[in-house]
């Protein structure tokens, strides 16, 4: 079966990528560079998680920071008050975020397009204000993780390397979930809802149910990313995990790579984080504005010239190369099927 060969070729590529990611820290030993790799993996994980609802199901959330923040605050509070290991704390954070997603999605999914996007911004902004003014959560001061402990139990490490492998593991998990959804009937339903919601309903697809599935799964995974952020930074405050800029960045990573494509956000994260970090180190982050200008110019260029992201752009290029005719390859693949 040709599709089988296609999948396994994709599989080989993914396996090679994974192997490369696994051995990369052996070559990159400088802590600041390892930190850079961790940032890429964190961005990729958030982007892949967002892609489930924003890409496949086409429900553009610009408030994903609310899930990220819930994850970070839940695991951290459980660690600080109950001494609960972040391994369980991250799962708890995911569950809280998923429950929140259900409660928020139920009314908000009656809205479409811009209206839904705006509602998600509002929800995240309100949450940020509430947390900032919550004494129980230390408000604007933020929460510090214990400095006197380290190891796999509390998921706090003195070197970068363990963090690298933890976030790599979380990214792999997130990609696997996304992949499983893409291949199942749920993935087909998501795309149907995105393309033609009314036609999907006529075929028996409950819009509310499947949009809620998308948002809940996405929220769960995003919250786990938030928990990881808290473990790595050992400090969180409302501005660092609930800000709308984070929501926008999460969506941007997916859009940059290509929405609704499994590995699109991973590519998006590599590009975005690299440009972000290099423009920061090259031009300094102390308010010259240059890093912002470069970042913004890139966003506008992608939005204007390649709405389908870099993966879409690569696809277009391939189609325009002389001799390459993917449409015909596809047809012959079909005929070759037994």
């Amino acid at each position: 079966m040709t599709t089988g060969i296609n999948i396994s070729r994709k599989g080989v590529g993914t396996a090679a990528l994974l192997a490369l990611a696994a051995v990369l820290p052996l070559a990159v030993t400088e802590p600041s560079q390892q930190n850079f790799l961790i940032l890429i993996l964190m961005g990729a994980q958030m982007g892949v998680a967002w892609n489930i609802v924003g890409g496949y199901a086409g429900q553009v959330s610009l408030g994903h920071a609310v899930f990220y923040g819930i994850g970070a605050y839940t695991s951290t509070m459980l660690l600080l008050t109950l001494g609960l290991t972040p391994w369980i704390g991250a799962l708890a954070g995911g569950l809280v975020a998923a429950a929140f997603a259900l409660a928020m999605g139920w009314p908000c999914f009656r809205l479409k397009g811009h209206y839904f996007a705006m509602a998600t911004i509002a929800v995240a902004e309100i949450m940020q204000i509430l947390v900032t003014n919550s004494d129980a959560l230390e408000g604007a001061v933020g929460l510090y993780l214990p400095m006197d402990q380290s190891g796999w139990g509390v998921l706090i490490f003195l070197s970068k390397l363990p963090y690298y492998y933890v976030i790599l593991g979380l990214l792999v998990l997130t990609v696997l979930v996304s992949w499983a959804i893409e291949r199942s009937h749920i993935g087909y339903y998501f795309r149907a809802i995105k393309d033609e919601p009314e036609a999907a309903r006529a075929l028996g697809v409950s819009l509310t149910r499947y949009k809620l599935i998308a948002l809940t799964v996405s929220a769960f995974l995003t919250a786990m990313g938030g928990s990881f952020y808290a473990q790595k930074e050992m400090f969180i405050d409302p501005g660092s995990v609930f800000a709308t800029t984070i929501s926008i960045k999460i969506a941007l990573i997916a859009i940059l790579g290509g929405v609704g494509r499994l590995m699109g956000p991973v590519l998006g994260a590599v590009i975005l984080i690299t440009i972000e970090e290099y423009s920061r180190t090259l031009f300094g982050s102390t308010g010259s504005g240059t890093d912002m200008i470069i970042y913004a110019a890139m966003i506008i260029l992608v939005a204007v010239f390649s709405p389908s992201g870099v993966l879409g752009l690569l696809g277009d290029l391939r189609r325009h190369l002389p001799g390459a005719k993917p449409a015909e390859v596809k047809t012959s693949a079909k005929e070759a099927r037994p």
């Binding site: 291949r183 199942s184 009937h185 087909y188 339903y189 795309r191 149907a192 995105k194 393309d195 033609e196 009314e198 036609a199 999907a200 309903r201 006529a202 075929l203 028996g204 697809v205 409950s206 609704g260 596809k330 047809t331 693949a333 079909k334």
Partner: protein, 239 residues
């Protein structure tokens, strides 16, 4: 077999902000029947479809499907019960191939992707689109997209299919093919209600015709009766 008629519509009316689109429409559809639904533009045919398929909640009246009251049910519930539809302005899933479009329909009865694929291949063959299976739906011609919608609807294993102007814009050969397709749907035991302006496509195959004018049913009978009905002739001449 169920003794209740497949579909019983009783006194159905639908108004939008006071504008009456359907008024006091009653009719019955039996299992496997082919019903032609005709009427001048704006007569309320698509509104009636939307009420039957759960897209509109009727303002008055009842709709019963196999004896079960389905008035005001959701489209997804209607689909699950066995009412499938196509759209007047085609709504294929643009980002998917033709086959994938039909798979989404097949998934209503079987969530396994591989089995839905087999089912979808059968339905594509049934409407004569097998050779286009892996073509992106957006690359199909409009007439192919209309057939794709029929295949997609059939894949949900309906007992009643609502076809909204599937013959519009087709050339005479294609109209004959479309008529043959409707007949083959009938042979599978599926009833159909067909909104159509193309009389030479619908008259030879319909068992019964319903005629709407200004939102109300003005005639209900065999194609031969309808053709000689003064009210129908007046409605069409008055257009």
């Amino acid at each position: 077999m169920n003794t209740a008629p497949l579909l019983a519509v009783d006194g159905l009316g639908k108004a939008f902000d006071g504008l009456v689109a359907n008024r006091d429409i009653s009719f019955i559809v039996h299992h496997g029947e082919i019903i032609g639904l005709i009427g001048p533009n704006g007569a309320g045919k698509t509104t009636l479809f939307n009420c039957l398929a759960g897209f509109h909640t009727p303002t008055t009246g009842r709709i019963a499907f196999e004896g079960q009251d389905i008035t005001g049910s959701t489209p997804e519930a209607a689909a699950a019960l066995g009412i499938a539809r196509t759209f007047q302005i085609v709504r294929v899933f643009q980002s998917m191939t033709a086959l994938e479009n039909v798979m989404v329909g097949a998934m209503l009865r079987n969530k396994r992707v591989a089995e839905a694929r087999e089912r979808a291949e059968d339905e594509l063959a049934f409407v004569g689109l097998s050779h286009r299976a892996d073509t992106p739906a957006s690359d199909l011609t409009v007439s192919e997209q209309k057939r794709l919608e029929v295949a997609r609807a059939l894949a949900t294993e309906p007992k009643l299919i609502l076809l909204d102007e599937v013959m519009a814009g087709l050339n005479p050969t294609e109209v004959r093919e479309a008529s043959a397709l409707v007949h083959r749907i009938h042979q599978r035991g599926i009833a159909s209600i067909i909104v159509e302006h193309v009389m030479e496509g619908i008259m030879p195959i319909a068992h019964r015709m319903l005629v709407l004018d200004y939102g109300a049913k003005i005639a209900d009978g065999t194609p031969a009766e309808i053709a000689e009905n003064p009210a129908v002739i007046a409605a069409y001449l008055g257009e």
